[in-house]
Symmetry: C3
């Protein structure tokens, strides 16, 4: 029997779709073939969650639900069909991507807490869930991972995780703390990009 | 007591040997030292199976049987001794490599099914077993993974996995379905290379 | 209640600190931002142990003790504050790094033996613990891993592991075998660097 997807599942779908699109677009810029582009899209979408689940020693989510593969396939189809108009949708994808980042952070942190880990582990797991897929993507296309050099990205996950922690310390209910965590990630990322807030570059040693 | 290796073990040895050779040869083209070349050869040979076993949460096969290390060592010795004639053996290695690809796909898919996973997971695990070692190799030598850009390679694993599934759906016995899976991978790869069948390149966005 | 750290914990701290410094310095040479440099430092310090623990199917050490994160943070602070004088400390860091390599090898090998694995697995796990963090670091900064091309590095771990094995075969007590293993790694690495001992380069095939 077909069940209606929950609100979180819909957000999860949007995040997966946006992450897959980002991988597929970068792969297409490097002239990958369709298969390669699909794999890079998939790695971007599920890579963070997979690394998290390996560390937490649980079965990766995508091995239990074909939704992630199908979602990446629809992202692939979307890029093939609407290549011409994709560039006009940059703002839309930025929004989707940020929703994905926020949601993945909440999912990753919550999963760790539910398994009994400390909050500092949960913050890292939230950040890995949100940001490690992009690192994998950049390794596959043979570039220095973007998040190491530019923009507040994974830092937004860390800040959102800390907000989650603080809410929890104050005895707030779980679902409320999760919403605040997600909104924090979202807002931090939006503000950082809008006002071009960046972290300082670590200068190399003098010659 | 020494036991005679089974037919599958001999095929496994041939596949491991061929995969290790491919890693060692590419490492030598980048002037790796002996140790580095050995590690790249090993990663090519066992990388796919190791990633699969981490995802399936079982102990990697090479941690239970030193055969894989010894096989890579003999591949290393082979490259050092017969460097001059290796280029004349390209067709032989292509054959071995394709046998390895076919066998690794069957092993990976069967292992997943035996652990109770759905067939779509098994198809992915078969493809990871066959193709992820080559991705790891290319990351180590700092190249964009070959399978993302050229030739039908991992796609042959996917097609073989689908053949396995169809056979299974038709109620075929396991060993027969496995043979058909392996032969399919082998034939698809041979045909793809012989007739230069490639997947379409995903074009980047217009400037 | 605060407990005094044991001798091994102090060595572990030193090794982690030195490994983190090496990652952070290389990241700074590539103009990573603070966050990126911290992540690369962390990956260098805990990457080897994490890969080992995933293979051994146990929870990674850093998920059970925040020491590794704090230690990397202090390494980060150190690099930011004392950037100017770091280049004069090359010999000191080489020493720390070698202590770390020796200790990580002993820890990795011992952990595997305690879990009931054969000694050849333990030797590999010791080498992964010591050297895989550096491979991860080099993949992140998009360079061919240094240990594949230059110097006796991971080979020192292998030789130390073999020494461990021989001591164990002779019925030596565990703590003594561990000390001999660590000292062997340390001495082999120091001698190799001092006398510029290198492994032969694997020559590519003739054109």
């Amino acid at each position: 029997m077909f069940e209606m997807p929950s609100f979180v599942q819909i957000l999860d779908f949007i995040g997966t779709f946006a992450f897959a699109i980002s991988g597929i677009r970068l792969a297409s810029a490097k002239s990958f073939d369709w298969f390669g582009a699909y794999v890079v899209g998939l790695a971007t979408a599920i890579g963070g969650g997979t690394i998290r689940d390996l560390l937490l020693d649980v079965t990766p989510a995508w091995m239990q639900d074909p939704m992630y593969l199908l979602c990446t396939a629809s992202a692939m189809l979307f890029v093939i069909l609407f290549r011409q108009i994709l560039i006009h949708l940059n703002n839309t994808f930025f929004l989707f991507d940020t929703i994905g980042l926020a949601l993945f952070t909440v999912v990753g942190a919550t999963k760790s807490i539910d398994l009994g880990y400390s909050f500092w582990v949960a913050i890292i797991m939230g950040s890995i869930t949100g940001a490690a897929g992009g690192v994998l993507r950049d390794v596959f296309i043979n570039e220095i991972p973007l998040i190491f050099r530019k923009e507040i990205y994974a830092m937004a996950c860390v800040i959102g995780g800390i907000a989650y922690w603080l809410c929890s310390l104050m005895g707030m209910e779980a679902y409320l703390a999760q919403i605040i965590c997600g909104v924090t990630v979202f807002v931090v990322r939006i503000i950082a990009v809008k006002y071009e807030v960046t972290l300082p570059i670590l200068k190399g040693e003098p010659e």
